[in-house]
Subunit: 305 residues, 2 copies
Protein backbone atom coordinates (compact mmCIF):
# COMPACT_ATOMS: atom_id res chain seq x y z
CA UNK A 1 0.00 0.00 0.00
CA UNK A 2 1.22 3.44 -0.95
CA UNK A 3 2.47 5.53 1.97
CA UNK A 4 2.63 9.20 1.15
CA UNK A 5 3.54 12.09 3.40
CA UNK A 6 4.07 15.74 2.57
CA UNK A 7 6.74 17.94 4.10
CA UNK A 8 6.64 21.76 3.91
CA UNK A 9 9.82 23.23 5.44
CA UNK A 10 10.07 27.04 5.66
CA UNK A 11 13.53 28.58 5.29
CA UNK A 12 14.67 32.08 6.28
CA UNK A 13 16.00 32.89 2.82
CA UNK A 14 13.84 34.52 0.16
CA UNK A 15 16.38 36.54 -1.83
CA UNK A 16 19.59 34.61 -2.56
CA UNK A 17 18.66 32.31 -5.46
CA UNK A 18 21.89 30.33 -5.08
CA UNK A 19 21.00 29.34 -1.51
CA UNK A 20 17.40 28.51 -2.45
CA UNK A 21 18.64 26.30 -5.28
CA UNK A 22 21.00 24.46 -2.92
CA UNK A 23 18.09 23.81 -0.54
CA UNK A 24 15.90 22.45 -3.34
CA UNK A 25 18.78 20.39 -4.69
CA UNK A 26 19.43 18.76 -1.30
CA UNK A 27 15.80 17.60 -1.25
CA UNK A 28 15.76 16.46 -4.89
CA UNK A 29 18.83 14.28 -4.39
CA UNK A 30 16.96 11.91 -2.09
CA UNK A 31 15.49 9.04 -4.17
CA UNK A 32 11.71 8.72 -3.96
CA UNK A 33 11.15 12.34 -3.03
CA UNK A 34 9.42 14.73 -5.41
CA UNK A 35 9.54 18.51 -5.01
CA UNK A 36 5.99 19.73 -5.64
CA UNK A 37 6.39 23.47 -5.21
CA UNK A 38 8.91 26.19 -4.32
CA UNK A 39 7.47 29.50 -3.11
CA UNK A 40 9.91 32.36 -2.53
CA UNK A 41 9.11 35.80 -1.11
CA UNK A 42 11.74 38.55 -0.98
CA UNK A 43 9.75 40.79 1.36
CA UNK A 44 9.07 37.95 3.78
CA UNK A 45 12.70 36.87 3.16
CA UNK A 46 11.44 33.32 3.32
CA UNK A 47 11.01 30.27 1.07
CA UNK A 48 8.53 27.44 1.40
CA UNK A 49 9.42 24.16 -0.29
CA UNK A 50 6.71 21.51 -0.61
CA UNK A 51 7.76 17.95 -1.26
CA UNK A 52 6.27 14.48 -0.86
CA UNK A 53 7.18 10.81 -0.85
CA UNK A 54 7.35 7.85 1.52
CA UNK A 55 7.96 8.83 5.15
CA UNK A 56 11.61 7.66 5.52
CA UNK A 57 12.65 9.41 2.30
CA UNK A 58 10.90 12.60 3.38
CA UNK A 59 12.62 12.49 6.77
CA UNK A 60 15.99 12.13 5.05
CA UNK A 61 15.27 14.99 2.61
CA UNK A 62 14.10 17.27 5.41
CA UNK A 63 17.31 16.55 7.33
CA UNK A 64 19.53 17.29 4.34
CA UNK A 65 17.77 20.59 3.66
CA UNK A 66 18.15 21.56 7.33
CA UNK A 67 21.86 20.78 7.03
CA UNK A 68 22.19 23.12 4.03
CA UNK A 69 20.18 25.83 5.81
CA UNK A 70 22.38 25.54 8.91
CA UNK A 71 25.52 25.91 6.77
CA UNK A 72 24.36 28.81 4.55
CA UNK A 73 21.83 30.96 6.44
CA UNK A 74 22.85 33.33 9.23
CA UNK A 75 19.92 34.64 11.26
CA UNK A 76 22.07 37.51 12.55
CA UNK A 77 21.96 38.97 9.02
CA UNK A 78 18.28 38.24 8.44
CA UNK A 79 15.63 40.92 8.20
CA UNK A 80 12.24 40.07 6.73
CA UNK A 81 8.65 40.93 7.56
CA UNK A 82 7.69 37.35 8.50
CA UNK A 83 8.44 36.18 12.07
CA UNK A 84 11.17 33.52 12.26
CA UNK A 85 13.44 31.85 14.79
CA UNK A 86 15.64 29.60 12.63
CA UNK A 87 17.51 29.16 9.36
CA UNK A 88 15.15 26.28 8.79
CA UNK A 89 12.31 27.83 10.75
CA UNK A 90 9.60 25.18 10.78
CA UNK A 91 9.27 21.65 9.39
CA UNK A 92 5.70 20.30 9.28
CA UNK A 93 4.82 16.80 8.10
CA UNK A 94 1.37 16.33 6.57
CA UNK A 95 -0.02 12.77 6.22
CA UNK A 96 -1.55 12.31 2.73
CA UNK A 97 -2.18 8.62 2.00
CA UNK A 98 -1.73 5.47 4.07
CA UNK A 99 -0.09 7.46 6.89
CA UNK A 100 -1.68 8.43 10.21
CA UNK A 101 -1.15 11.64 12.17
CA UNK A 102 0.64 9.48 14.76
CA UNK A 103 3.04 8.30 12.02
CA UNK A 104 3.64 11.93 11.11
CA UNK A 105 4.36 12.84 14.73
CA UNK A 106 6.75 9.88 15.05
CA UNK A 107 8.61 11.07 11.94
CA UNK A 108 8.79 14.59 13.42
CA UNK A 109 10.33 13.18 16.63
CA UNK A 110 12.92 11.08 14.74
CA UNK A 111 13.93 14.07 12.63
CA UNK A 112 14.02 16.34 15.69
CA UNK A 113 16.31 13.97 17.58
CA UNK A 114 18.69 13.80 14.59
CA UNK A 115 18.73 17.56 13.90
CA UNK A 116 19.40 18.26 17.58
CA UNK A 117 22.25 15.74 17.74
CA UNK A 118 23.93 16.18 14.36
CA UNK A 119 23.30 19.88 13.63
CA UNK A 120 23.39 21.25 17.19
CA UNK A 121 20.12 23.10 16.77
CA UNK A 122 17.52 23.22 19.58
CA UNK A 123 14.29 21.58 18.43
CA UNK A 124 10.73 22.31 19.61
CA UNK A 125 8.03 19.80 18.70
CA UNK A 126 4.67 21.42 17.83
CA UNK A 127 1.06 20.63 16.83
CA UNK A 128 0.39 16.87 16.69
CA UNK A 129 4.00 16.21 17.81
CA UNK A 130 3.93 18.65 20.76
CA UNK A 131 5.07 17.36 24.16
CA UNK A 132 3.30 20.13 26.13
CA UNK A 133 -0.01 21.89 25.51
CA UNK A 134 1.63 25.33 25.28
CA UNK A 135 3.76 24.07 22.38
CA UNK A 136 0.85 23.01 20.18
CA UNK A 137 0.56 26.50 18.68
CA UNK A 138 3.47 27.46 16.40
CA UNK A 139 3.06 31.19 17.09
CA UNK A 140 3.56 30.51 20.82
CA UNK A 141 6.67 28.41 20.17
CA UNK A 142 8.21 31.11 17.95
CA UNK A 143 7.31 34.00 20.27
CA UNK A 144 10.31 36.29 20.77
CA UNK A 145 11.81 35.12 17.47
CA UNK A 146 15.54 34.47 17.00
CA UNK A 147 16.68 37.53 18.93
CA UNK A 148 14.38 36.94 21.92
CA UNK A 149 14.82 33.17 22.09
CA UNK A 150 18.60 33.62 22.20
CA UNK A 151 18.12 34.95 25.75
CA UNK A 152 15.34 32.56 26.81
CA UNK A 153 16.71 29.16 25.79
CA UNK A 154 19.10 27.98 28.49
CA UNK A 155 17.70 30.27 31.16
CA UNK A 156 13.89 29.86 31.12
CA UNK A 157 12.66 26.38 32.18
CA UNK A 158 9.64 26.85 29.85
CA UNK A 159 12.09 27.03 26.94
CA UNK A 160 13.98 23.76 27.38
CA UNK A 161 14.04 22.24 23.86
CA UNK A 162 12.63 18.77 23.14
CA UNK A 163 15.91 17.81 21.44
CA UNK A 164 19.34 19.32 20.91
CA UNK A 165 21.41 21.67 23.07
CA UNK A 166 19.79 23.87 25.71
CA UNK A 167 21.06 27.02 23.96
CA UNK A 168 20.33 28.63 20.63
CA UNK A 169 22.50 27.85 17.58
CA UNK A 170 24.52 31.07 17.03
CA UNK A 171 23.61 31.40 13.33
CA UNK A 172 20.87 28.83 12.63
CA UNK A 173 18.70 29.65 15.67
CA UNK A 174 16.05 27.08 16.59
CA UNK A 175 13.52 24.99 14.68
CA UNK A 176 9.93 23.86 15.19
CA UNK A 177 9.12 20.37 13.88
CA UNK A 178 5.66 18.88 13.89
CA UNK A 179 2.82 17.04 12.19
CA UNK A 180 -0.43 18.63 11.10
CA UNK A 181 -3.34 18.52 8.69
CA UNK A 182 -3.08 20.19 5.27
CA UNK A 183 -2.98 23.95 5.76
CA UNK A 184 -3.77 26.78 3.40
CA UNK A 185 -1.32 29.66 3.51
CA UNK A 186 -2.69 32.76 1.89
CA UNK A 187 -1.55 36.40 1.71
CA UNK A 188 -4.26 39.01 1.28
CA UNK A 189 -2.92 42.30 -0.12
CA UNK A 190 -4.60 45.54 0.95
CA UNK A 191 -4.49 48.85 -0.92
CA UNK A 192 -2.88 50.92 1.82
CA UNK A 193 0.63 51.54 3.11
CA UNK A 194 -0.63 51.68 6.71
CA UNK A 195 0.41 48.45 8.43
CA UNK A 196 -1.85 49.25 11.40
CA UNK A 197 -4.85 48.47 9.20
CA UNK A 198 -3.43 45.03 8.38
CA UNK A 199 -2.65 44.38 12.03
CA UNK A 200 -6.13 45.39 13.10
CA UNK A 201 -7.68 43.09 10.50
CA UNK A 202 -5.38 40.20 11.42
CA UNK A 203 -6.50 40.53 15.05
CA UNK A 204 -10.14 40.55 13.99
CA UNK A 205 -9.90 37.41 11.87
CA UNK A 206 -7.53 35.16 13.84
CA UNK A 207 -8.55 32.69 16.50
CA UNK A 208 -6.08 33.79 19.17
CA UNK A 209 -7.72 37.20 19.55
CA UNK A 210 -11.36 36.16 19.14
CA UNK A 211 -11.66 35.45 15.39
CA UNK A 212 -12.24 32.32 13.34
CA UNK A 213 -11.36 29.05 15.01
CA UNK A 214 -8.94 27.62 12.44
CA UNK A 215 -7.30 30.86 11.38
CA UNK A 216 -3.90 32.31 12.20
CA UNK A 217 -3.09 35.76 10.85
CA UNK A 218 -0.46 38.49 10.95
CA UNK A 219 -0.44 42.05 9.61
CA UNK A 220 2.72 42.71 7.57
CA UNK A 221 4.11 45.72 5.73
CA UNK A 222 5.36 45.14 2.16
CA UNK A 223 7.54 48.23 1.81
CA UNK A 224 8.81 47.30 -1.66
CA UNK A 225 5.27 47.55 -3.04
CA UNK A 226 3.86 50.28 -0.78
CA UNK A 227 1.09 47.95 0.45
CA UNK A 228 0.32 45.80 3.47
CA UNK A 229 -0.76 42.16 3.80
CA UNK A 230 -2.80 39.99 6.05
CA UNK A 231 -0.72 36.80 6.00
CA UNK A 232 -3.05 33.98 6.97
CA UNK A 233 -2.94 30.26 7.71
CA UNK A 234 -6.15 28.25 7.63
CA UNK A 235 -5.43 25.10 9.59
CA UNK A 236 -8.75 23.36 8.86
CA UNK A 237 -10.32 24.71 5.68
CA UNK A 238 -13.38 22.48 6.04
CA UNK A 239 -14.41 24.29 9.19
CA UNK A 240 -12.90 27.72 8.51
CA UNK A 241 -13.24 28.06 4.73
CA UNK A 242 -11.31 30.54 2.60
CA UNK A 243 -14.39 32.46 1.48
CA UNK A 244 -15.46 33.15 5.06
CA UNK A 245 -12.04 34.36 6.16
CA UNK A 246 -11.85 36.59 3.09
CA UNK A 247 -15.35 37.98 3.71
CA UNK A 248 -14.34 38.93 7.23
CA UNK A 249 -11.17 40.62 6.00
CA UNK A 250 -13.15 42.57 3.39
CA UNK A 251 -15.68 43.56 6.01
CA UNK A 252 -13.01 44.95 8.32
CA UNK A 253 -11.11 46.60 5.46
CA UNK A 254 -14.27 48.43 4.39
CA UNK A 255 -14.40 50.17 7.73
CA UNK A 256 -11.11 51.88 6.75
CA UNK A 257 -12.13 52.41 3.13
CA UNK A 258 -9.28 50.08 2.12
CA UNK A 259 -9.72 47.74 -0.88
CA UNK A 260 -8.58 44.11 -1.02
CA UNK A 261 -6.26 44.18 -4.04
CA UNK A 262 -5.69 40.46 -4.37
CA UNK A 263 -4.88 37.20 -2.66
CA UNK A 264 -2.04 34.80 -3.15
CA UNK A 265 -1.77 31.11 -2.29
CA UNK A 266 1.58 30.25 -0.71
CA UNK A 267 2.57 26.75 -1.78
CA UNK A 268 -0.24 24.35 -2.63
CA UNK A 269 -3.96 24.25 -1.97
CA UNK A 270 -6.20 21.14 -1.74
CA UNK A 271 -8.69 21.07 -4.62
CA UNK A 272 -11.62 20.67 -2.21
CA UNK A 273 -10.88 24.15 -0.81
CA UNK A 274 -11.32 25.69 -4.25
CA UNK A 275 -14.48 23.66 -4.94
CA UNK A 276 -15.93 24.77 -1.62
CA UNK A 277 -15.22 28.39 -2.58
CA UNK A 278 -16.74 27.97 -6.06
CA UNK A 279 -19.83 26.27 -4.63
CA UNK A 280 -20.27 29.06 -2.09
CA UNK A 281 -19.97 32.01 -4.45
CA UNK A 282 -21.86 30.35 -7.30
CA UNK A 283 -24.57 29.33 -4.82
CA UNK A 284 -24.40 25.72 -6.03
CA UNK A 285 -27.07 23.54 -4.47
CA UNK A 286 -26.65 19.83 -3.80
CA UNK A 287 -23.23 19.95 -5.40
CA UNK A 288 -20.92 16.98 -4.91
CA UNK A 289 -17.37 16.23 -5.96
CA UNK A 290 -18.83 13.45 -8.10
CA UNK A 291 -20.13 16.14 -10.43
CA UNK A 292 -16.62 17.15 -11.39
CA UNK A 293 -15.97 15.57 -14.78
CA UNK A 294 -12.32 14.74 -14.09
CA UNK A 295 -13.21 12.92 -10.86
CA UNK A 296 -15.60 10.68 -12.78
CA UNK A 297 -13.07 10.10 -15.55
CA UNK A 298 -10.37 9.15 -13.10
CA UNK A 299 -12.72 6.49 -11.80
CA UNK A 300 -13.42 5.37 -15.36
CA UNK A 301 -9.76 5.08 -16.29
CA UNK A 302 -8.36 3.69 -13.04
CA UNK A 303 -11.35 1.99 -11.45
CA UNK A 304 -12.46 2.55 -7.84
CA UNK A 305 -9.56 3.56 -5.56
Amino acid sequence: MLQLIECVPNFSEGRNQGTIQRLVQAIREVPGVQVLDVHTDGDHHRSVITFAGEPPACGEAAFRSAQVAQALIDLNQHQGVHPRMGAVDVIPFVPLEGVTMADGAALARQLGERIGRELNIPVFLYEAAATRPERIDLAQVRKGQFEGLRELIGTDPAHVPDFGPNCIHPTAGAVAIGARKPLIACNVTLGTANVEVAKHIARAVRHSSGGLRYCRALGLEIKSKGVVQVSMNLTDFRHTPLHRALALIEHEAQRYGVPVLGTQIVGLVPQAALWDAAAHYLKLEQFSMDQVLENRLRYLIRGPQ
Copy 2:
Protein backbone atom coordinates in the same frame (compact mmCIF):
# COMPACT_ATOMS: atom_id res chain seq x y z
CA MET B 1 -3.32 5.45 -27.17
CA LEU B 2 -6.50 5.90 -25.16
CA GLN B 3 -9.46 7.20 -27.14
CA LEU B 4 -12.14 8.65 -24.95
CA ILE B 5 -15.36 10.36 -25.96
CA GLU B 6 -18.26 11.53 -23.83
CA CYS B 7 -21.91 11.27 -24.84
CA VAL B 8 -24.68 13.24 -23.10
CA PRO B 9 -28.09 12.23 -24.48
CA ASN B 10 -31.15 14.10 -23.19
CA PHE B 11 -34.40 12.14 -22.89
CA SER B 12 -37.95 13.49 -22.57
CA GLU B 13 -38.67 11.53 -19.41
CA GLY B 14 -37.99 12.95 -15.97
CA ARG B 15 -40.69 11.32 -13.85
CA ASN B 16 -41.09 7.60 -14.58
CA GLN B 17 -38.20 5.94 -12.73
CA GLY B 18 -38.80 2.64 -14.51
CA THR B 19 -38.25 4.19 -17.93
CA ILE B 20 -35.18 6.10 -16.74
CA GLN B 21 -33.70 2.90 -15.33
CA ARG B 22 -34.29 1.07 -18.64
CA LEU B 23 -32.47 3.88 -20.48
CA VAL B 24 -29.52 3.73 -18.11
CA GLN B 25 -29.47 -0.05 -18.28
CA ALA B 26 -29.36 -0.05 -22.09
CA ILE B 27 -26.22 2.11 -21.92
CA ARG B 28 -24.58 0.11 -19.12
CA GLU B 29 -24.98 -3.17 -21.04
CA VAL B 30 -22.49 -2.07 -23.70
CA PRO B 31 -19.00 -3.29 -22.72
CA GLY B 32 -16.43 -0.50 -22.33
CA VAL B 33 -18.99 2.19 -21.59
CA GLN B 34 -19.22 3.80 -18.16
CA VAL B 35 -22.22 5.81 -17.00
CA LEU B 36 -20.80 8.89 -15.27
CA ASP B 37 -23.94 10.72 -14.22
CA VAL B 38 -27.73 10.58 -14.39
CA HIS B 39 -29.56 13.85 -13.86
CA THR B 40 -33.36 13.74 -13.67
CA ASP B 41 -35.73 16.71 -13.40
CA GLY B 42 -39.45 16.19 -12.92
CA ASP B 43 -40.37 19.80 -13.73
CA HIS B 44 -38.33 19.78 -16.92
CA HIS B 45 -39.67 16.23 -17.48
CA ARG B 46 -36.26 15.39 -18.80
CA SER B 47 -33.23 13.25 -17.95
CA VAL B 48 -29.62 13.78 -18.92
CA ILE B 49 -27.37 10.72 -18.91
CA THR B 50 -23.62 11.27 -19.17
CA PHE B 51 -21.45 8.36 -20.24
CA ALA B 52 -17.99 7.85 -21.72
CA GLY B 53 -15.81 5.25 -23.38
CA GLU B 54 -14.17 4.54 -26.73
CA PRO B 55 -16.05 6.01 -29.72
CA PRO B 56 -17.52 2.78 -31.21
CA ALA B 57 -18.83 1.63 -27.82
CA CYS B 58 -20.35 5.06 -27.16
CA GLY B 59 -22.04 5.05 -30.56
CA GLU B 60 -23.55 1.63 -29.82
CA ALA B 61 -24.72 2.68 -26.34
CA ALA B 62 -26.29 5.87 -27.71
CA PHE B 63 -28.16 3.83 -30.31
CA ARG B 64 -29.50 1.35 -27.76
CA SER B 65 -30.72 4.13 -25.49
CA ALA B 66 -32.44 5.81 -28.46
CA GLN B 67 -34.13 2.48 -29.21
CA VAL B 68 -35.47 2.25 -25.65
CA ALA B 69 -36.62 5.90 -25.76
CA GLN B 70 -38.42 5.32 -29.07
CA ALA B 71 -40.21 2.30 -27.61
CA LEU B 72 -41.20 3.80 -24.23
CA ILE B 73 -41.62 7.57 -24.56
CA ASP B 74 -44.62 9.16 -26.28
CA LEU B 75 -44.20 12.87 -27.02
CA ASN B 76 -47.96 13.25 -27.43
CA GLN B 77 -48.25 12.66 -23.66
CA HIS B 78 -45.28 14.84 -22.73
CA GLN B 79 -45.57 18.14 -20.91
CA GLY B 80 -42.53 19.70 -19.30
CA VAL B 81 -41.08 23.17 -18.99
CA HIS B 82 -38.00 22.41 -21.09
CA PRO B 83 -38.32 22.64 -24.90
CA ARG B 84 -38.07 19.27 -26.67
CA MET B 85 -38.77 17.69 -30.04
CA GLY B 86 -38.01 14.01 -29.45
CA ALA B 87 -38.17 11.05 -27.08
CA VAL B 88 -34.41 11.11 -27.26
CA ASP B 89 -34.19 14.84 -27.84
CA VAL B 90 -30.53 15.54 -28.42
CA ILE B 91 -27.37 13.38 -28.54
CA PRO B 92 -24.10 15.34 -28.32
CA PHE B 93 -20.68 13.71 -28.50
CA VAL B 94 -17.84 15.47 -26.65
CA PRO B 95 -14.23 14.53 -27.50
CA LEU B 96 -12.22 14.06 -24.29
CA GLU B 97 -8.89 12.34 -25.00
CA GLY B 98 -7.22 11.19 -28.22
CA VAL B 99 -10.33 12.07 -30.25
CA THR B 100 -10.74 15.13 -32.52
CA MET B 101 -13.89 17.14 -33.08
CA ALA B 102 -13.93 15.71 -36.62
CA ASP B 103 -13.97 12.19 -35.11
CA GLY B 104 -16.90 13.27 -32.94
CA ALA B 105 -18.77 14.64 -35.96
CA ALA B 106 -18.12 11.40 -37.90
CA LEU B 107 -19.53 9.39 -35.01
CA ALA B 108 -22.60 11.67 -34.94
CA ARG B 109 -23.17 11.04 -38.67
CA GLN B 110 -22.83 7.26 -38.32
CA LEU B 111 -25.26 7.21 -35.42
CA GLY B 112 -27.65 9.56 -37.27
CA GLU B 113 -27.71 7.33 -40.32
CA ARG B 114 -28.46 4.26 -38.19
CA ILE B 115 -31.15 5.91 -36.06
CA GLY B 116 -32.84 7.25 -39.21
CA ARG B 117 -32.78 3.85 -40.90
CA GLU B 118 -33.47 1.46 -38.03
CA LEU B 119 -35.68 3.58 -35.76
CA ASN B 120 -37.51 5.63 -38.40
CA ILE B 121 -36.78 8.89 -36.65
CA PRO B 122 -35.81 12.03 -38.61
CA VAL B 123 -32.31 13.17 -37.62
CA PHE B 124 -30.89 16.70 -37.70
CA LEU B 125 -27.12 17.09 -37.38
CA TYR B 126 -26.06 20.11 -35.30
CA GLU B 127 -23.00 22.03 -34.03
CA ALA B 128 -19.73 20.53 -35.32
CA ALA B 129 -21.70 17.89 -37.28
CA ALA B 130 -24.10 20.40 -38.91
CA THR B 131 -24.56 20.20 -42.69
CA ARG B 132 -25.93 23.77 -42.99
CA PRO B 133 -25.04 26.95 -41.08
CA GLU B 134 -28.59 27.41 -39.78
CA ARG B 135 -28.41 23.99 -38.12
CA ILE B 136 -25.33 24.76 -36.02
CA ASP B 137 -27.46 26.20 -33.23
CA LEU B 138 -29.53 23.60 -31.35
CA ALA B 139 -32.22 26.12 -30.39
CA GLN B 140 -32.78 26.88 -34.09
CA VAL B 141 -33.03 23.17 -34.95
CA ARG B 142 -35.55 22.53 -32.18
CA LYS B 143 -37.65 25.63 -32.88
CA GLY B 144 -41.35 24.77 -32.99
CA GLN B 145 -40.75 21.69 -30.81
CA PHE B 146 -42.50 18.37 -31.36
CA GLU B 147 -45.92 19.89 -32.07
CA GLY B 148 -44.63 22.49 -34.55
CA LEU B 149 -42.14 20.27 -36.32
CA ARG B 150 -44.86 17.68 -36.94
CA GLU B 151 -46.26 20.17 -39.48
CA LEU B 152 -42.95 21.43 -40.86
CA ILE B 153 -41.05 18.21 -41.57
CA GLY B 154 -42.20 16.86 -44.96
CA THR B 155 -43.63 20.21 -46.14
CA ASP B 156 -40.92 22.85 -45.54
CA PRO B 157 -37.73 22.37 -47.64
CA ALA B 158 -35.73 23.98 -44.80
CA HIS B 159 -36.81 21.06 -42.59
CA VAL B 160 -35.60 18.11 -44.67
CA PRO B 161 -33.78 15.86 -42.16
CA ASP B 162 -30.15 14.83 -42.65
CA PHE B 163 -31.12 11.17 -42.14
CA GLY B 164 -34.30 9.16 -41.73
CA PRO B 165 -37.80 9.68 -43.08
CA ASN B 166 -38.99 13.11 -44.25
CA CYS B 167 -41.78 13.08 -41.66
CA ILE B 168 -41.86 13.16 -37.90
CA HIS B 169 -42.02 9.90 -35.91
CA PRO B 170 -45.57 9.82 -34.51
CA THR B 171 -44.48 9.21 -30.88
CA ALA B 172 -40.69 9.66 -30.78
CA GLY B 173 -40.57 12.94 -32.74
CA ALA B 174 -37.17 13.97 -34.09
CA VAL B 175 -33.62 14.02 -32.73
CA ALA B 176 -30.63 16.34 -32.97
CA ILE B 177 -27.24 14.61 -33.05
CA GLY B 178 -23.95 16.47 -32.99
CA ALA B 179 -20.44 16.97 -31.68
CA ARG B 180 -19.37 19.81 -29.43
CA LYS B 181 -16.96 21.00 -26.77
CA PRO B 182 -17.70 20.33 -23.08
CA LEU B 183 -20.67 22.41 -22.01
CA ILE B 184 -21.82 23.54 -18.61
CA ALA B 185 -25.55 23.23 -18.04
CA CYS B 186 -26.70 25.23 -15.07
CA ASN B 187 -30.11 26.20 -13.66
CA VAL B 188 -30.32 29.44 -11.69
CA THR B 189 -33.34 29.58 -9.39
CA LEU B 190 -34.96 32.97 -8.72
CA GLY B 191 -37.14 33.86 -5.74
CA THR B 192 -40.27 34.80 -7.67
CA ALA B 193 -43.20 32.99 -9.27
CA ASN B 194 -43.23 35.45 -12.20
CA VAL B 195 -41.82 33.66 -15.24
CA GLU B 196 -41.59 36.95 -17.13
CA VAL B 197 -38.67 37.95 -14.89
CA ALA B 198 -36.81 34.75 -15.79
CA LYS B 199 -37.55 35.28 -19.48
CA HIS B 200 -36.34 38.87 -19.37
CA ILE B 201 -33.12 37.81 -17.65
CA ALA B 202 -32.57 34.93 -20.09
CA ARG B 203 -32.85 37.39 -22.99
CA ALA B 204 -30.37 39.74 -21.32
CA VAL B 205 -27.73 37.07 -20.71
CA ARG B 206 -27.92 34.90 -23.85
CA HIS B 207 -25.95 35.45 -27.03
CA SER B 208 -28.86 35.21 -29.45
CA SER B 209 -30.47 38.37 -28.10
CA GLY B 210 -27.33 40.42 -27.45
CA GLY B 211 -25.86 38.80 -24.32
CA LEU B 212 -22.73 36.79 -23.62
CA ARG B 213 -21.14 35.10 -26.60
CA TYR B 214 -21.05 31.49 -25.36
CA CYS B 215 -24.31 31.53 -23.41
CA ARG B 216 -27.71 30.03 -24.25
CA ALA B 217 -30.53 30.68 -21.80
CA LEU B 218 -34.25 30.14 -21.28
CA GLY B 219 -36.66 31.44 -18.68
CA LEU B 220 -38.73 28.59 -17.20
CA GLU B 221 -41.49 28.35 -14.62
CA ILE B 222 -41.12 25.70 -11.90
CA LYS B 223 -44.74 25.51 -10.76
CA SER B 224 -44.13 22.68 -8.28
CA LYS B 225 -41.83 24.95 -6.25
CA GLY B 226 -43.47 28.31 -6.92
CA VAL B 227 -40.25 29.71 -8.39
CA VAL B 228 -38.73 30.36 -11.82
CA GLN B 229 -35.40 29.42 -13.37
CA VAL B 230 -32.94 30.73 -15.86
CA SER B 231 -31.81 27.48 -17.51
CA MET B 232 -28.42 28.16 -19.05
CA ASN B 233 -25.83 26.44 -21.22
CA LEU B 234 -22.30 27.80 -21.33
CA THR B 235 -20.78 26.39 -24.50
CA ASP B 236 -17.24 27.72 -23.89
CA PHE B 237 -16.65 28.34 -20.18
CA ARG B 238 -13.12 29.63 -20.78
CA HIS B 239 -14.47 32.60 -22.69
CA THR B 240 -17.86 32.97 -21.03
CA PRO B 241 -17.15 31.91 -17.42
CA LEU B 242 -19.79 30.88 -14.91
CA HIS B 243 -19.10 33.76 -12.52
CA ARG B 244 -19.66 36.36 -15.25
CA ALA B 245 -22.93 34.85 -16.43
CA LEU B 246 -24.13 34.63 -12.82
CA ALA B 247 -23.10 38.26 -12.13
CA LEU B 248 -25.16 39.39 -15.10
CA ILE B 249 -28.17 37.38 -13.95
CA GLU B 250 -27.88 38.85 -10.43
CA HIS B 251 -27.56 42.35 -11.89
CA GLU B 252 -30.74 41.96 -13.92
CA ALA B 253 -32.59 40.25 -11.08
CA GLN B 254 -31.79 43.16 -8.77
CA ARG B 255 -33.68 45.46 -11.07
CA TYR B 256 -36.81 43.48 -10.13
CA GLY B 257 -35.87 43.10 -6.48
CA VAL B 258 -35.71 39.34 -7.05
CA PRO B 259 -33.07 37.25 -5.21
CA VAL B 260 -31.01 34.45 -6.75
CA LEU B 261 -31.91 31.52 -4.50
CA GLY B 262 -29.39 29.03 -5.82
CA THR B 263 -27.78 27.40 -8.80
CA GLN B 264 -27.64 23.79 -9.86
CA ILE B 265 -25.20 22.03 -12.17
CA VAL B 266 -26.96 19.65 -14.58
CA GLY B 267 -24.71 16.67 -15.24
CA LEU B 268 -20.98 17.21 -14.86
CA VAL B 269 -18.72 20.23 -14.76
CA PRO B 270 -15.03 20.40 -15.77
CA GLN B 271 -12.85 21.12 -12.75
CA ALA B 272 -11.21 24.10 -14.48
CA ALA B 273 -14.57 25.91 -14.51
CA LEU B 274 -14.78 25.66 -10.71
CA TRP B 275 -11.15 26.72 -10.26
CA ASP B 276 -11.72 29.72 -12.51
CA ALA B 277 -14.70 30.69 -10.36
CA ALA B 278 -12.75 30.24 -7.11
CA ALA B 279 -9.81 32.26 -8.45
CA HIS B 280 -12.15 35.07 -9.52
CA TYR B 281 -14.09 35.41 -6.30
CA LEU B 282 -11.10 34.85 -4.02
CA LYS B 283 -9.12 37.39 -6.13
CA LEU B 284 -6.27 34.89 -6.49
CA GLU B 285 -3.25 36.41 -8.23
CA GLN B 286 -0.86 34.43 -10.40
CA PHE B 287 -2.78 31.27 -9.61
CA SER B 288 -2.06 28.18 -11.67
CA MET B 289 -3.50 24.69 -11.74
CA ASP B 290 -0.07 23.49 -10.64
CA GLN B 291 -0.82 24.95 -7.21
CA VAL B 292 -3.58 22.43 -6.66
CA LEU B 293 -2.15 19.76 -4.38
CA GLU B 294 -3.93 16.85 -6.06
CA ASN B 295 -2.63 17.86 -9.49
CA ARG B 296 0.94 17.74 -8.20
CA LEU B 297 0.33 14.42 -6.46
CA ARG B 298 -1.12 12.86 -9.59
CA TYR B 299 2.10 13.79 -11.33
CA LEU B 300 4.08 12.32 -8.46
CA ILE B 301 2.21 9.02 -8.49
CA ARG B 302 1.76 8.55 -12.24
CA GLY B 303 4.57 10.61 -13.77
CA PRO B 304 4.09 13.16 -16.57
CA GLN B 305 1.07 12.38 -18.75
